[in-house]
């Protein structure tokens, strides 16, 4: 029993509530939001250290015994994800100061960001499938607020789509949970992992597993359920886009990772092969989008979809390199996507447009920005020694060890397309004839640029120092591949 693992959920909740009381006090809002996100990050790091030292942490709320109460479980994977999402939220808060606008800041922007953090951290930590639904709803509520925040015309249009898609997928989620409960009689994930292998009718469980894949697929934006993502993510301003792009789809990916390693393993030949095929189709669909547009935001948004496919392909292999690679790539992708959105946000502000064809020559006036972007772009494509490389290498290795070796070849080939799509932004925006830029005060530029550079630096450290992080990653992979560690931590506390 340890309440420590709840701190990354309670602290942002507490700060969000405090911030609701005085929405108009701009300075106080900024300071408290930064402190809230910072303290959350510290508590997440302490939690990671604790999990690393003492193994999987679990607490069942309200002192109920384990399969009956709501269990919260922090294994290495969830602790790593909580740390990463806390880092990103902290930087998004810093990046918001100069970019989001005073009007938005004074109408509950920071509380909404912190509520989103509550939902994301909660979804990563929970050990109960219905509670996962609840936390997903918490983060969706916050994201509904954020996507429509400011009330610009495209935001209103896209928020209707976003709401509709998510309400339908949430309804399906509840239905799928009800089916699962009627078959197994439990919703505690550890208990499910015990009960599901004892059930002989795997047919009905396979159907439920595919239903969950559809539900989480809506959130994670897999093929063909990603249709809502490019439009919806395009409409809100850059800090919100960075937050969504880095965190929201990853909750869906995490949920698939968790359920498809912990308990939906009764018919791997069908479910995981399906997952692998869908993952590859997701990558291909994302590649088409990433090359098709001349809009910086759209290009990076389609790269989110590609990354989702790559991560899920590693999970579908269900072997050690594949799973380790997926975890590494997941963490890398959260960080690099936030960094890239920050960078294209600066570029878009400088040119006053997001259209690549109206840009050019930025390398002469902002050389550091250009080289930072190039490093981030290489990291995204997975050029060694940057952070995209170790994860992708392991995933490809996992694919070659499994039956879906053709998938690994597709991933290798599409890496070139990812590189092309990211470098295209570099070529159009930084090379070529200089185009007149919007004058920007140096202090404002620095306020935007400093969090960005630090975030890019973190991804570089994550890639170059991959050896340092590998023990955490393989520890997380070990728990995923041996559900008994997870089960024992929850049921035998």
């Amino acid at each position: 029993m340890s309440n420590l693992l709840l701190f990354p959920i309670i602290i942002p909740l507490f700060f969000a509530v405090i911030l609701m009381i005085f929405p108009k006090r701009l300075k106080l809002q900024r300071i408290l939001a930064a402190i809230g996100a910072g303290v959350t990050l510290i508590s997440a790091i302490v939690l990671l250290a604790k999990v690393d030292a003492d193994g999987v942490q679990a607490v069942t709320l309200g002192s109920w015994p384990a399969p009956f109460g709501i269990s919260m479980v922090s294994d290495p994977l969830s602790a790593l994800l909580v740390v990463t999402s806390s880092i990103i939220t902290l930087f998004v808060v810093f990046y918001s100061f100069p970019t989001i606008g005073v009007k938005r800041e004074q109408s509950y922007y920071y509380p909404a960001v912190l509520f989103l953090m509550v939902g994301v951290n909660g979804a990563f930590t929970t050990g109960d499938i219905f509670n996962l639904f609840v936390f997903v709803e918490v983060l969706l509520m916050a994201s509904y607020t954020l996507i429509v925040h400011g009330g610009e015309k495209p935001q209103l249009r896209e928020s209707i789509k976003y709401l509709l898609v998510n309400i339908i997928s949430s309804a399906l989620f509840v239905a799928a949970v009800a089916f699962l409960y009627s078959v197994t009689g439990t919703l505690n994930m550890a208990d499910l992992a015990v009960k599901i292998p004892q059930i002989e009718e795997t047919g009905i469980l396979t159907v439920i597993a595919v239903m969950f894949l559809v539900v989480f697929g809506f959130k994670a934006a897999i093929f063909p359920l990603y249709f809502w993502l490019p439009g919806s993510y395009y409409s809100p301003p850059i800090p919100i886009l960075a937050l969504f792009g880095a965190l929201l789809t990853k909750v869906g990916v995490y949920a698939i990772m968790r359920t498809y390693t912990l308990f939906f393993t009764m018919n791997v030949g069908f479910t995981h092969e399906l997952l692998g095929i869908i993952a590859i189709l997701t990558i291909l669909a994302g590649c088409v989008g990433a090359l098709a547009y001349f809009d910086v935001k759209k290009i990076i948004i389609y790269n989110i979809i590609i990354a989702v496919g790559v991560i899920l392909f590693g999970i579908a292999q269900l072997n050690q390199p594949g799973v380790d690679g997926s975890i590494f790539y997941l963490l890398h992708d959260m960080l690099i996507k936030a960094a890239l959105f920050f960078l294209v946000g600066i570029v878009a502000v400088l040119f006053g447009t997001t259209d690549l064809r109206k840009m050019g020559g930025l390398i002469k006036t902002y050389p550091v920005l250009g080289w930072t972007y190039l490093v981030a772009a290489f990291g995204l494509a997975g050029i060694p020694p940057l952070s995209g490389f170790p994860g992708k290498l392991l995933i490809v290795q996992g694919g070659f060890e499994g039956p879906q070796f053709w998938g690994s070849i597709v991933i290798l080939a599409t890496s070139l397309i990812v590189l092309l799509s990211a470098v295209r932004i570099f070529i159009y925006a930084f090379w070529g004839e200089p185009v007149e830029t919007v004058p920007l005060k140096g202090s404002v530029f620095n306020q935007m640029f400093i969090p960005t550079v630090i975030l890019v630096a973190i991804t570089v450290v994550f890639g170059v120092g991959a050896e340092l992080f590998m023990p955490f990653i393989s520890g997380a992979g070990e728990v995923l591949l041996n559900p008994s560690i997870y089960i024992d931590a929850v049921l035998k506390e």
Partner: protein, 140 residues
């Protein structure tokens, strides 16, 4: 526009108090029997909405000068604080404490820390419902 709402207004003056009393009853009935902060809050909100329908928003805001967003925040704070008190006593989060007391007039009564949590829920429900209704119902 409203020319003949004497009946409604007169009835409201009585009915509102009945609804509010019933809300209090339902609120305290909670935990062991059906009821609690959520239903109590909804009942209270419905009483206020009835007032708004039969009189108008400005009058009601004059008698009940609350900022409903702040009310929501205070309710949430109360709920979190009750749940988080378990951290200080080093028991799993959300563990509640209760005991039986002999109170004058009431006799033997069970006092439960879940009631504090429910009071938070009550404030949140009233706050959120009224914020939504005011936002939708207000004219510029």
């Amino acid at each position: 526009m409203r020319t003949n709402d004497v009946m409604l207004q007169t009835a409201t003056k009585v009915v509102t108090f009945i609804i509010l009393m019933f809300a209090v009853h339902i609120f305290f009935a909670g935990h062991y029997t059906p009821g609690g902060g959520f239903v109590g809050g909804l009942l209270t909100a419905s009483a206020i909405v009835l007032l708004m329908l039969s009189f108008d928003i400005e009058t009601v805001n004059k008698i009940l000068p609350f900022n409903y967003v702040t009310m929501t925040a205070i309710g949430l704070l109360l709920a979190i604080a009750t749940a988080a008190a378990s951290i200080i006593f080093d028991v799993p989060f959300f563990t509640h404490a209760y005991d039986y007391f002999d109170l004058p007039l009431f006799g033997e009564t069970s006092l439960h820390s879940a009631m504090l949590f429910d009071a938070g829920v009550y404030l949140v429900v009233v706050g959120v419902t009224m914020t939504i209704i005011q936002t939708i119902g207000e004219d510029e």
